[in-house]
């Protein structure tokens, strides 16, 4: 493609000032290879001038046989900016943990230079590689080149979305299970659900290796799998002493910030009452050389996070307090199947699983998916007396 004529972007140019790297500069860079970017700049400048977006509500576009992975997008001023008349986004499954080789990156760049704007998001906030802006007719060829090179589309609409994972065992000493493996396995197992929207609404899965939750799974995933441990925190007393010697105020910064106050520090020895520890990670975070998660590792499975539209935001809530690492994959898959079955049967259109559980009640949901209620599922038992006693059983 040819480099297009210069257009005037006085407002956007202001965003090339200042120390933080500029997305405007990026768009300008991409003009070298894509004239779409000229019209993108033009339309964006217009938005900046008018204080309003100029994209139309997306239509249904995509690649053959897939029901998702592409966000259709059209300009509402195509007469002014014909080269962004279409400006669809392609979502592409990221490799687990967002690891790349330079070759893989270049392959992606080459494909996208050929078929689209040359603009990406690395990454979208669900975790996908985002190819930002192309025309309808480029979608299928681009897709074919992607799969030929080992990449595939992510989800959109009422489909499962590409699961994501924290860096986990690849570079983190705290990973309580193999987040990358689980993320990859789930992505592969549910390719069909990813590509052919079968659900009442979207379904997101995120795998975090420990309660620090570096993929924000508890806030942003319908299914949140968060590593934890069952036995005692591994403790190295000499290393604790070394931290103290280096100036860590163990009483104030560690002991006093423990949410259960289950630690004691006598100035020389740190004692943890592990039975009271809620695995919050704080003490470990402060003294990574001295304290480590226990050896009996696994994960807590939580369900139901989502953004506020429309019944209010939700954080995921505890479904299974602890699954040992070796049972994790099987348990998660079995659970997912049962949850989806229930959702399929009872979910209303555009009702996320977290909303459905609230609507039907956690207890009914547990019954349906065959889990026993345990007190770890609630922050407290009910405080209202409105119990739907069952008529069949338990009477007098």
């Amino acid at each position: 493609m040819a480099v297009a004529e210069k257009i005037d972007t006085p407002l956007l140019d202001e965003l090339e000032k200042g120390p933080w790297p500029s997305f405007v500069t990026e768009i300008k860079k991409a003009r070298q290879t894509s004239p779409m970017c000229d019209d993108l700049l033009g339309q964006l400048e217009l938005s900046y001038r008018e204080k309003i977006g100029h994209w139309k509500h997306g239509g249904i576009v995509g690649v053959l046989g897939y029901g998702g992975g592409v966000i259709g997008r059209y300009s509402d001023v195509p007469e002014k900016f014909p080269r962004v008349a279409h400006f669809h986004t392609m979502r592409i499954n990221q490799p687990a943990g967002w690891f790349y080789t330079s070759d893989a990156l270049r392959t992606l760049c080459d494909i996208w230079e050929r078929h689209g704007s040359g603009l990406t998001n690395m990454h979208g906030s669900t975790g996908d590689i985002i190819f930002l802006g192309t025309r309808t007719e480029e979608l299928e060829p681009c897709f074919q080149e992607l799969t030929a090179n080992g990449f595939d589309l992510g989800g959109s609409g009422s489909s499962m979305r590409t699961p994501s994972a924290c860096v986990g065992p690849a570079r983190c000493e705290w990973a309580c299970y193999d987040t990358l493996k689980l993320c990859y396995d789930l992505t592969m197992t549910y390719q069909d659900e990813l590509h052919r929207p079968p659900f009442p609404y979207k379904f997101k899965i995120k795998c975090a290796g420990c309660p620090n939750d570096c993929v924000a799974s508890i806030a942003r995933a319908d299914l949140s799998i968060i590593g934890t441990w069952k036995d005692d925190i591994q403790q190295d007393d000499d290393a604790v002493a070394a931290y103290a010697a280096e100036g860590v105020n163990i009483q104030k910064d560690v002991v006093d910030r423990c949410p259960t106050r289950c630690m004691e520090w006598d100035g020389a020895k740190l004692t943890i009452n592990n039975r009271e520890c809620v695995r919050c990670m704080h003490c470990i975070n402060v003294m990574p050389k001295a304290l480590r998660p226990g050896k009996e590792r696994g994960a807590t499975i939580l369900i139901g996070a989502k953004a506020p539209i429309v019944q209010g935001a939700l954080l995921s809530s505890v479904l299974i307090p602890f699954v040992p690492e070796e049972e994790l994959e099987e348990t998660v898959k079995e659970l997912i199947n049962r949850v989806w079955e229930f959702w399929d049967e009872h979910g209303m259109n555009r009702e996320r699983i977290g909303e459905l559980i609230q609507r039907v009640g956690m207890a009914n949901f547990l019954d349906a998916i065959g889990l026993e209620p345990v007190p770890e599922m609630v922050s407290a038992p009910r405080d209202n007396p409105y119990i739907f006693f069952r008529t069949d059983e338990e009477q007098a």
Partner: protein, 360 residues
């Protein structure tokens, strides 16, 4: 779904991550012992084997051209054996097995205009969304505000001097793709007028029952307009959520005169110390003022400064506010408390102060 052409490849998923792991990572996979800070943007992980891997993290505008990606790839080739990764907050990480590469890599990154930092108690990258660059629903731009805010917070990215991590996020409409609902500081685009109804388009493009059902407050009612079936919106019942627009393109909410931004504070995701928390309303409305959004930038910087000056070590924004109480937060930041701060949604009653615990 329709049949696929013979050789068309589908449903292969992403490449296996193992193919992309640096050798030192592969070798020590799952066997890391601990990590240490080296400098802002640089830390080292030590494995059981004694191996070490140094990570250098650089801030990114997230919206990246293939040109820049290729530059990044070239840096990886030069310094980290052709390996790199991105973080869950869209930064770039180079994983080095040789600490001598740290300084040259940092220098080259800085020359490229990519700041090194974002680790530990820094302000890392802003998780954000599309805005006017790509979304139809946006009440504001995303990347533009992020750029302005990060310009102002730049020194907090390249240093680690805050009491704790401070996560900033931005979403350009109430759909909240930026997951701003659990951020230390969240910037949220808001509409403040009910949708305009394009009756002709509505008849063509939208199902009226679905549309009516989409409104959480029941503000949309069937109506006859020019003798034909359409809908009307009871303005007093509309809370500008945009859900109707999501299901029906003929109900746009965008309005250059009244769209703008709101600021939310005190959310968190980690389970460290306290349970994850939602962000709470700090400032209901600030104007859309491109290209540099000074009001938003000032508001964010003010909150960061007051937090930095007052919070205790290891206290996230929300933990600090819970300790000092919301009245003190409003006092210290000088932000006025208004009727909009008082919740009136589903669980509103639970946010009324139901004790006499009051600082006088």
């Amino acid at each position: 779904m329709s049949a696929q052409p013979a050789k068309r490849i589908t449903d292969i998923g992403p490449p296996h991550y193992e193919k992309f792991l640096p050798p030192i990572i592969k070798k020590n996979y799952g066997k890391w012992l601990y990590h240490e800070r080296i400098a802002p943007g640089v830390f080292v992980h030590v494995a059981e084997s004694g191996d070490r891997v140094w990570t250098v993290r650089a801030g990114s505008p997230r919206l990246l051209s293939v040109q820049t990606l290729r530059q990044i790839a070239a840096l990886a080739d030069k310094y980290s054996g052709g390996h790199l990764r991105f973080t869950s907050r869209n930064n770039v990480e180079f994983l080095l097995d040789n600490p001598d590469n740290i300084e040259p890599l940092k220098r080259e990154l800085q020359e490229m205009g990519f700041p090194v930092g974002g680790t530990n108690n820094a302000i890392s990258n802003v998780v954000h969304t599309q805005g006017w660059v790509h979304c139809h629903s946006a009440a504001t731009d995303a990347s533009g505000i992020v750029k302005c805010v990060m310009d102002a917070l730049y020194d907090h990215f390249t240093s680690e001097s805050l009491p704790a991590k401070l996560r900033v996020a931005l979403a350009c409409c109430l759909n909240m793709c930026g997951a701003v609902h659990c951020s230390d500081i969240a910037i949220l685009g808001v509409h403040r007028r009910p949708p305009k109804i394009h009756h002709d388009a509505l008849r063509k493009m939208c199902e009226v029952p679905t549309l009516i059902a989409s409104c959480p407050t029941g503000a949309i009612r069937p109506a006859t307009v020019d003798g034909r079936q359409s809908v009307e919106v009871i303005e007093a019942q509309c809370m500008y959520c945009g859900n109707c627009y999501t299901v029906c393109p003929a109900m746009p909410l965008n309005n250059p005169d009244t769209d703008g931004l709101s600021i939310w504070v005190g959310g968190k995701v980690s389970n460290a110390r306290t349970a994850p928390k939602f962000s709470k309303l700090a400032i209901p409305f600030l104007p859309n003022n491109p290209p540099r959004w000074p009001e938003v930038v000032d508001a964010v910087v003010n909150i960061v400064n007051v937090y930095a000056a007052n919070a205790r070590k290891y206290e996230r924004m929300g933990e600090w506010i819970e300790r000092i109480g919301w009245p003190r937060f409003f006092e210290l930041t000088g932000i006025p408390f208004t009727r909009y701060h008082i919740d009136d949604f589903k669980h509103a009653g639970l946010t009324y102060a139901r004790s006499t615990h009051i600082r006088m």
